[in-house]
Assembly symmetry: C2
Homo-oligomer: 193 residues x 2
């Protein structure tokens, strides 16, 4: 393993922010988990916690986008792809004791009205996800406007199901929400031919 100190700090931050949120995670906890020193953190991120937060949001957001795109590309059709995304999320949640869901959701809610630079970072990530989903649905023959609505509906249902599933500690919400989205996509496909 040849991970740099900088990478370990970003990785540890992403994991902790995802589970405990931004305000709930201290810089000392981050460097401890990253097996780094506080001086190194400020060396790589002179802007402190906020700069680190921005980079973590963008990095984790892109990684998660690729993960979901992987599920969609691997599936034989988009409806199956949607079901696979929700099933995969449920599987991860179960395996991590309902800890690892969306990497930026908790942070996004925390900073939405308290930290404008971080809020913008989360908005850009969500915007990129919506565009990615829209492209996927368009490729399946769905017309532009509806493709975008379905992409937003998919992401919203997934994020909301994460909240319910993490709080209630069962995957029923992910299953119900996934089925609702899958059927909406199915309807849109059969309507377009």
């Amino acid at each position: 393993m040849t991970t740099t100190t900088r990478d370990r700090i970003v990785g540890a931050s992403a994991e902790l922010f995802r589970r405990q949120g931004y305000t709930g995670t201290g810089l000392k906890q981050i460097v401890a988990q990253a097996e780094a020193q506080l001086g190194s953190l400020y060396h790589f991120f002179p802007g402190g916690k906020e700069q680190l937060g921005q980079e973590v949001i963008r990095w984790a957001g892109l990684l998660y986008q690729r993960l979901v795109e992987g599920f969609m590309i691997a599936a034989p059709d988009v409806v199956t792809g949607v079901r696979d995304v929700f099933a995969g999320a449920a599987e991860t949640l179960r395996q991590t004791g309902y800890a690892d869901a969306c990497p930026i959701e908790t942070v996004a809610l925390e900073v939405a009205t308290t930290n404008e630079p971080l809020r913008r970072a989360t908005a850009e990530v969500f915007g990129s996800w919506i565009e990615s989903g829209t492209r996927g649905f368009r490729r399946a023959g769905i017309r532009s406007h509806e493709a975008r609505s379905l992409a937003i509906g998919l992401i919203a249902a997934l994020e909301g199901a994460f909240v319910l599933s993490r709080a209630m500690r069962n995957t029923e919400p992910l299953e119900a929400a996934g089925e609702m989205v899958a059927q909406a996509v199915e309807r849109a496909i059969s309507a377009t031919g």
Copy 2:
């Protein structure tokens, strides 16, 4: 106005937790906004921040449930009711500068893996919401199992749309998610007759 000190503390906490989250809100900020003193807070809540958090989650959760039930009851049919709930949420979000969405969502994500008593409180609130929604859909003639799935889908879509709308500062996610849920309910109704 004859609000008691205790009520003002609970009300101020609810507003601040909703906007800034649990870890992001200090007890001194709460008593300042409540125009109360720290001693009063510990007089009414000897269990400190955690006891206050539990009470706020349950109180705000019940209040919000009644708000949504009000929209559903006032509507001429359930599909219109669903649309009204999302439209009402969008209106509130716009009016409050995208600050006031779900009263317990941010807290629920923060505590899901860090504070078991608070996690249980959020789980109970979500459970109560799901039961309320299930009853509403059953009254419209939808069979039990599907009514529950739709209730979960509705809450998940609403919660997820809140995340997107607050981060992106526009109500498009609430509109897209609301339409997806409304059509799912419409389909379930016409299938049952």
